[in-house]
């Protein structure tokens, strides 16, 4: 007379906790998730194809729109890839400023992650505090390059401008006040029993599985694999700075939280060292007026806040790329989602999406 039935539930694309337009088709047995289909493509803009019809200068604003929460990294990865292809050397001051802005961007991106992740799980206060500190960073970026989200802050061969007067002092001020603010998030979350209950043991992703799925970034490091592009294949001037790669042990959402919190501290360390060692000089290298890389192909990666961000360019000696491909960390990390939520409760799906820290602009491109 009575029987149970599996049920299909659609989550998204207009769901506040999917951080954009992600659609999940969950197959539920009661409250337990037995199968997940990840349906993407709602934000697909065809940027890769579009790049084939734009010259190398014009592509940079388009890279801003991929991972719009951490657009500095998209800019950085793109310009470094073209520089690698053409063999352009960038002045040292420009490299240092790039490192400073990029690491500040990592903090800003992790603040968005922390705020929204906590908000999804039900801790609303943290969200406001995180965005308050992010505001300071966005003001710094605005003073540096004129925009708050889509920066277009670098150019092939260096930077369009030097930093404005007084900017480094403002960065120093931020470096000084931020540890105290981070302590506040720590107090609110790290030992909070609700937070522990919602994150410990949730969304386990073991090291072997993470590597098989191609997961990178904090999600991989929380599984105990100490892999960071900044250390493994140092780009820019990262080999000159001292910093640690935090890793986790339990492979769960809570460890990923701890890893990202520690990453913010390490980023601050890098910013401090880069500020102290900031050399004087030019910020723009010698670049031909028309960017025409030689025939060839190049792949270059940077360590974005979400993981390994790769750019692949095939050049046929024209001023436009023949093929452009982005290896976006959000897209690759998202593949692990069905595996991570299998057997958990519906409410945990929200926590797992939050901990993967995806940006749909990066997933769909």
């Amino acid at each position: 007379m009575f029987r149970t039935e599996m049920m299909d539930i659609n989550m998204g694309p207009q769901h506040p906790s999917t951080h954009g337009v992600l659609r999940l088709k969950l197959l539920l047995d009661g409250e337990t998730v037995t199968d997940t289909d990840v349906l993407i493509g709602y934000l697909h803009r065809g940027v890769e194809k579009l790049c084939e019809s734009k010259n190398y200068h014009m592509i940079e604003p388009y890279t801003d729109r991929l991972d719009y929460v951490a657009a500095m990294y998209e800019n950085l990865g793109y310009v470094e890839t073209v520089e690698k292809l053409m063999g352009i050397t960038v002045p040292e001051r420009a490299e240092y400023i790039r490192v400073i802005t990029a690491e500040l961007q990592r903090i800003a991106s992790h603040l968005v992650w922390l705020g929204t992740h906590a908000l999804d799980i039900g801790a609303m206060t943290v969200f406001f505090y995180c965005f308050r500190e992010r505001e300071i960073l966005l003001d710094l970026f605005e003073a540096f390059c004129g925009a708050r989200l889509t920066y277009n802050a670098y150019r092939i061969g260096g930077l369009p401008w030097d930093v404005p007067p007084g900017w480094t002092d403002r960065v120093r001020h931020f470096v000084k006040i931020f540890p105290g603010r981070q302590q506040e998030y720590d107090t609110l979350l790290t030992k909070n029993r609700i937070w522990l209950g919602r994150t410990k043991g949730v969304g386990i992703l073991k090291a072997g599985d993470a590597i098989d799925f191609g997961v990178s970034g904090p999600c991989l490091r929380a599984a105990g694999v100490s892999y960071d592009v900044r250390k493994a294949h140092p780009y820019s001037v990262y080999d000159r700075f001292l910093f640690d790669i935090p890793t986790g042990e339990n492979c769960d959402t809570y460890d990923r939280y701890l890893v990202r919190m520690e990453e913010m501290r390490q980023s601050l360390r890098i910013v401090q060292q880069a500020l102290d060692g900031l050399p004087a000089g030019e910020v723009m290298g010698k670049v031909p007026k028309r960017i025409k890389p030689p025939v060839g192909e190049v792949y270059h990666t940077v360590e974005g806040p979400r993981g390994e961000l790769g750019f692949y360019i095939v050049s046929q000696g024209e001023d436009k790329p023949y093929r452009m491909r982005f290896r976006s960390p959000s897209f690759v990390n998202l593949q692990a989602l069905p595996h991570m939520v299998k057997g958990s409760l519906v409410a945990d799906v929200v926590a797992v999406i939050g901990t993967l820290d995806i940006v749909l602009g990066d997933v769909d491109r």
Binding site: M58, T125, Y129, P164
Partner: protein, 155 residues
């Protein structure tokens, strides 16, 4: 150690610590502004809508119709029509239109402009340009030079 853990559990210590943080933050100054009654101040490099400008000294238009900005614009939103000057020296503008609907405020058009140090095209600080129809975004040369009259909102 066990007693400490027990006390922590019973007395909800970590929750009270969190409450203390929120209480402290009640007394921090506000950082939000009540737009549109108040507006924030922009840094000099702020990128609003691109506009054209005249030479501040002579009052003449600076643009020499080199079409470089049109060529570099990634969204192809600038369109320039120009003709040879009657005296044969250089070109003069007939029309210069920017379609704000397509502009992505990247600021690339300013980079190659040859009229240094004051570039003819520049990123202004105007950001309030909402319109009711699409045509209102196609902005012609006169408006680009003088700027649209900005409506001041008061309560």
């Amino acid at each position: 150690m066990k007693i400490q853990a027990f006390l922590q559990k019973v007395l909800l210590l970590e929750l009270w610590q969190g409450m203390w943080v929120t209480l402290k933050n009640q007394f921090r100054p506000h950082i939000t502004v009540e737009y549109p009654k108040e507006t924030v101040e922009f840094p000099p490099r702020f990128r609003g809508v691109p506009r054209l400008r005249k030479d501040p000294q002579t009052g003449e238009e600076l643009c020499v119709s080199c079409l470089l900005c049109e060529a570099i614009c990634p969204t192809e939103c600038i369109s320039i029509v120009s003709e040879k000057r009657p005296d044969g020296k250089g070109k003069q503008l007939i029309s210069f239109t920017i379609n704000y609907e397509r502009c992505c405020f990247c600021g690339l058009c300013v980079d190659p402009c040859p009229t240094k140090p004051i570039t003819a095209i520049y990123m202004s600080h105007d950001y309030e340009f909402a319109g009711f129809d699409r045509d209102s975004y196609v902005t012609a040369r006169e408006e680009l030079v003088d700027g649209k009259p900005v409506k001041i909102y008061t309560s």
